[in-house]
């Protein structure tokens, strides 16, 4: 039908791209993603079920993951670390996000730049900064030893604490942005009204701002969790051998033990953890949307 309509045009003006052009434009992207993403992912999933020597189907690697103790511990460490980062990013990000959402002074631009600048610096630079600060002979221990407050260095690096600090720093700008967007959506008149009716600052925050910004809190925690669970460089450098997570254990399986099936199983564990968390996020968002549309429909 469409081609018939086109044919009615005089030939001189018919300089349309041919019908096949959009498909030809899309093909290279589909090819690249299929060869270097879909196919390798399929191979990896297949490999996780393959017997190491014969490649016949087996569940032995999954069984090993649940029974060898180390892998499951790594899985739990990853989840714990990501949860702690999610909490600290949200708690630390909240005052900054509130300021950015409400301030109208010229300081807003300064704080905005300060809050987001680290994102441009890259993960290595920031992790290196934290290494200098937290190391046994680093900035903090140096200072405390000088002041005579401690006699031997505090164990600040190569552990959960260092990784959580480093990752919080990496993820914080993303948490701030999602909290800020959510707080900006709250009508400032609600806060003013409550204040005029005699509510204290604390009461305004507790009964108005916090409850209304729950969607922002949820999305900030989800972003922080997924970014932390899949981070590699920060846990590798700040955690090292003292605090191994799935990402660093996968790296070891591939490059030191060259155990493809088991590396695939660990990668599957990380992937499933991420997909589960994203699923929770999608479910929460769609339930919130449907509730919001029901309540706003009822008001009208």
């Amino acid at each position: 039908m469409k081609s018939l309509a086109l044919d009615l045009h005089p030939p001189a003006r018919r300089r349309h791209p041919p019908q096949w052009f959009p498909i030809a434009a899309l093909t290279p992207s589909l090819l690249v993603l299929s060869v270097f993403f879909a196919l390798p992912m399929g191979m990896m999933i297949g490999m996780s079920f393959a017997q190491t020597e014969t490649l016949s189907p087996t569940l032995e690697h999954y069984q090993r993951f649940f029974t060898d103790g180390l892998s499951l511990a790594g899985f739990c460490r990853t989840a714990l670390m990501s949860l702690l980062v999610a909490i600290s990013v949200t708690v630390l990000g909240y005052p900054v996000a509130y300021f950015l959402a409400r301030s109208t002074t010229r300081w807003r631009a300064v704080v905005f730049a300060l809050a987001l600048a680290p994102e441009l610096a890259g993960v290595v630079l920031r992790t290196y900064g934290w290494l200098i600060i937290l190391e046994d002979r680093g900035f903090i221990n140096d200072l405390l030893l000088h002041l005579g407050l401690i006699t031997s260095p505090l164990p600040l690096s190569k552990n959960l604490f260092a990784v959580v600090v480093g990752l919080t720093h990496v993820v914080l700008p993303f948490g701030i942005l999602s909290l800020m967007t959510s707080i900006q959506g709250i009508d400032p008149n609600l806060e003013r009204a409550a204040q005029m009716l005699g509510a204290s600052r604390l009461a305004v925050i507790r009964t108005i701002v916090l409850p209304l910004s729950v969607p922002g809190i949820v999305s900030s925690m989800l972003i922080a969790f997924t970014m932390s669970a899949s981070a590699y460089a920060t846990p590798a450098l700040l955690g090292g051998a003292g605090f191994k997570v799935l990402a660093t254990m996968i790296y070891e399986q591939v490059l030191f033990y060259i155990d493809w099936p088991f590396a695939s199983v660990m990668a599957m564990a990380l992937l499933l953890m991420m997909l589960a968390i994203s699923f929770v996020g999608v479910r929460y968002e769609s339930r919130r949307r449907s509730r919001a549309s029901v309540s706003s429909g009822g008001e009208r």
Binding site: H16, S29, M43, G129, I133, L202, A231, G240, L271
Partner: protein
């Protein structure tokens, strides 16, 4: 009570902002520190670590990263532009499904993509592909969905009436694409390309599987060295590479990238 709350608020704001800036300040200070141990004597400065950067030890990985990121930005820019054009502008059949397929790599952690790609290469006997070719392929897989999404967003957001007006005034499709659509989505394409360059240049979780000795990227060279030593030359490398990234962003911004997009978005 109100006073106490507002003091607490300002103190927490200040504390968080210092937390954010502290490591950056420390790294800049370390890059200027005279001794190889990073200590508390910031009142003596030296530029010698920056002078040390001018050696093949740091220049080679920098140039490798630069080459890879340029190729990745070019490939994913062109592919992403064409893909978004086909799916969003032409609305070819099954465009929703195709879009989800194009964006699907975003939901897989980089380290998992890295394992999959290195496994794939070794299974089909292409270990020789490791190094620059594999890095380019993997970074394109990483960057392409971001570029496609950014171009698709600007294609979906620009005022379709402009395109219709051009059509009514007698412009054929090629003219409309060249004179109306491309100029309108240029900021989206440019920020996509800049973003692709930066994520390739800074990438660690994919690159870590795909480099090989003598054919490594700058971030991987730095983290491999960092595992043994906190040498201040590393601080200088990091500061220089951040300055480089800022320059890249500034240049693309000059050509008409992000702020133009922000203005376009605010209308």
């Amino acid at each position: 009570m109100n006073r106490l709350i507002s003091i607490l608020y300002w103190v927490s704001l200040g504390a968080v902002l210092s937390f954010i800036t502290l490591p950056l300040i420390v790294v800049v200070a370390a890059s200027l520190s005279p001794t190889s141990a990073v200590t508390l004597q910031p009142w003596e400065w030296t530029g010698r670590w920056y002078a040390d950067l001018w050696s093949s030890r740091w220049l080679d990985p920098f140039l490798a990263s630069f080459r890879i990121a340029t190729v990745v930005a070019a490939i994913s820019g062109v592919l992403g532009l064409f893909a978004a054009y086909a799916v969003v502008y032409e609305r070819i059949p099954g465009s929703d499904g195709l879009m989800s397929y194009l964006l699907s790599p975003l939901s897989v952690p980089q380290i998992v993509k890295g394992v999959a790609i290195v496994l794939f290469l070794s299974m089909i006997g292409l270990q020789g592909f490791l190094g620059t070719p594999a890095l380019i392929a993997a970074h394109v897989v990483l960057a392409l969905p971001f570029v496609t999404r950014m171009v698709a967003t600007s294609l979906a957001n620009f005022d379709a009436n402009l395109d219709r007006a051009a059509q009514i005034l007698g412009a054929n499709k090629l003219q409309r694409i060249r004179l109306v659509v491309l100029p309108m989505i240029k900021p989206g394409v440019l920020s996509g390309v800049t973003f692709a360059f930066i994520i390739s240049f800074n990438n660690i979780p994919l690159s870590v599987f795909l480099v090989r000795p003598g054919d490594s990227t700058l971030p991987i060279t730095v983290i491999n060295y960092l595992e043994y030593s906190l040498d201040p030359v590393l601080a200088a490398v990091n500061v220089a590479s951040m300055a480089f990234i800022l320059t890249v962003i500034f240049l693309f911004e000059k050509i008409g990238g992000f702020s133009a997009q922000l203005h376009g978005g605010s209308k």
